[in-house]
Amino acid sequence: MPESQAATIAPSTQIASLELKSRSGGLARDTFRKLTRNPGAVAGLIVLCLIVLATIFAPTIAPYDPIEQDTQTIRQAPSREHLNGTDTFGRDVFSRVLYGGRQSLPVGLIAVGIAGVVGVLTGLAAGYYGRWVDTVTMRMVDIMLAFPGILLAMSIVAILGTSLFNLMLAVGIAAIPEYTRVVRSSVLSAREAEYVTAARVSGASNSRIMLKHIFPNILPPVIVLATLGMAGAIILGSTLSFLGLGIQPPTPEWGNMMSDGRTLMRHFWWVSFFPGLAIMLTVLSINLIGDGLRDALDPRLHNR
């Protein structure tokens, strides 16, 4: 669950507030080098790349149409013709899994984008300005955190209705407080740094100090959170679709495909099994990359 992942990141990674601005190119190269030495992260990168490529080239790879129904091939077990079997409407599950990524993956990506942008801006403002800005922001965060993520996302869908965009929005909004908290606590330690004083003395505006000086320095924890958050967002998005509150059939999406197969599990396990496997492999590989990034970016763990 996303709640728990944020909690692991916050205390350990925020220490990585080094002055990175002058060598940010170096940091990226450094991080990538460390990442490639981590076998788990490398495996994650490879699997994720394969999944993304399969999703992008779904129209070329998929042997059948993902939506067209075929009464001749209802609920067939996996075979050479239908690698992952067929569903209640005779549709090829493998083709639908390939196309399903075109919904599930963008939901994760856009949701993290929404949460990241709003979370970074509010966190920066709260941490930098302090006083009432901080109080108001953090009370809002407390209120949002009073709802378990899935419940908050469900409420937003209840308000806005079900659609691809509303799903992205719901998952994104539910994740905002984690980013605000992590960014705020990183800013609190960064704003006392000498380079901030130096920038202020040389006449830089508040927004310039926040975005050009502080932000690059608090980037490491944000990158780790965004990576692990992507895994959480993909799970939450597909969970909502599974519950019937996200992407609606007949559009294939991993969560709603599993919902189709939920009652068929006893005799036609493949209808739910393969879309679930797709979610799990995707989330697993993103988590492996995220763990690798955390190790690479967190100086506390370097010498272990």
């Binding site: 669950m1 009370r139 407390d142 009073a146 869908v157 939920r262 396990w269």
Partner: protein, 312 residues
């Protein structure tokens, strides 16, 4: 640093919960008004209505009053345990929720038990056998735990342990038999998270001087681990138990759907599909309030058990 008396801490923590509770009530109140379109249409259902009916519904639900007055009515209703009636079933929302509350709380707590028992033991074993295959295996299990969606784990266990090898019943409620599988599903991801936390804090604690001292005194390794190291290693895990409860509650909501169990999750999902707003508001509000209360209790209990929390 001055030591804050326990009572002051409790009062301060209670006061902090007030704005959160107000925020929850404002959010659930506004749900009806944030929905695109006229709220009257929501309360009327999907059928076409005449102008007279509009006036009548507007009056019945107090929609003709100013917004702040509507909010005041809403809050005073809640304070009296009155959430209105469901649009679909016409039953009082309070009755529907009360019926669904117990199964969900039962499942969430059963999940907590699984998470703690399974997570803590996995973490300890991994730390004791640090850098061996046991450690690697435990961490692979933990990685799977944070990566598998609740509903997928639920369906897989159903398939293997209810259908293929009928050890556990697939659906139904009542005795412990029906609770084991769903509880494991709910608790597994929290268990994985706790295992990671316990492992790393255990590794840290086992390096401390007082552990070395305990070993040097000639104490048995078992005593050193359980009496000296474990107690301190558990603190970070316990501190996040409140946060874990959000995941458990959310997990219970999803798991109910997989195992066709009654509970708040099914009530909420049905209500959202029926666009039954009083019921949605009630369910969301009650779930959030329970979560805040559990967090409050967890925080207060730390203050009693670990005096360090009260500093600063």
């Amino acid at each position: 640093m001055l030591r804050t008396p326990l009572s002051t801490y409790i009062i301060r923590r209670l006061i902090q919960a007030i704005p959160v509770l107000i925020g929850i009530s404002v959010f659930t109140f506004l749900m009806v008004h944030l929905t695109p379109g006229d709220p009257v249409v929501l309360f009327a259902g999907d059928k076409p209505i005449s102008d007279e009916e509009i006036v009548q519904i507007r009056h019945q639900y107090g929609l003709d009053k100013p917004l702040w007055e509507q909010y005041a009515d809403y809050v005073s209703g809640i304070a009296h345990g009155d959430f209105g009636s469901g649009l679909h079933s016409k039953r009082p929302v309070t009755d529907t929720i009360m019926e669904a509350l117990w199964p969900t709380i039962q499942l969430a707590f059963a999940g907590l038990v699984v998470a703690v028992l399974f997570g803590v033991s996995l973490g300890i074993v991994a730390a004791i056998f640090h850098n061996t295959w046991v450690d690697s295996l435990a961490m692979v299990i933990a990685l799977l735990g944070v990566s598998v969606p609740v509903f997928y784990l639920g369906l897989l266990l159903l398939f293997f342990l209810s259908f293929k090898y009928p050890i556990f019943p697939a659906t139904g409620t009542g005795d412990l038999q029906h609770l084991i599988l769903p509880a494991f599903v709910v608790g597994f991801s929290s268990a994985a998270y706790i295992a990671r936390l316990v492992r790393s804090s255990m590794l840290e604690t086992l390096r401390q001087d007082y552990v070395t001292t305990a070993r040097a005194k000639g104490l048995r390794e078992r005593t050193v681990v359980t009496r000296h190291a474990l107690r301190n290693a558990l603190i970070p895990a316990v501190t996040y138990m409140g946060l874990q409860f959000a995941g458990l509650l959310g997990g219970a909501i999803v798991t109910e759907q997989v195992f066709s169990r009654p509970g708040l999750g099914r009530v909420a999902i049905t209500a959202i599909n029926n666009r039954d707003y009083p019921l949605i508001q009630g369910t969301v509000l009650i779930t959030a309030v329970i979560y805040v209360m559990v967090n409050l209790l967890v925080d207060l209990s730390y203050a009693v058990f670990d005096p360090r929390i009260r500093y600063a």
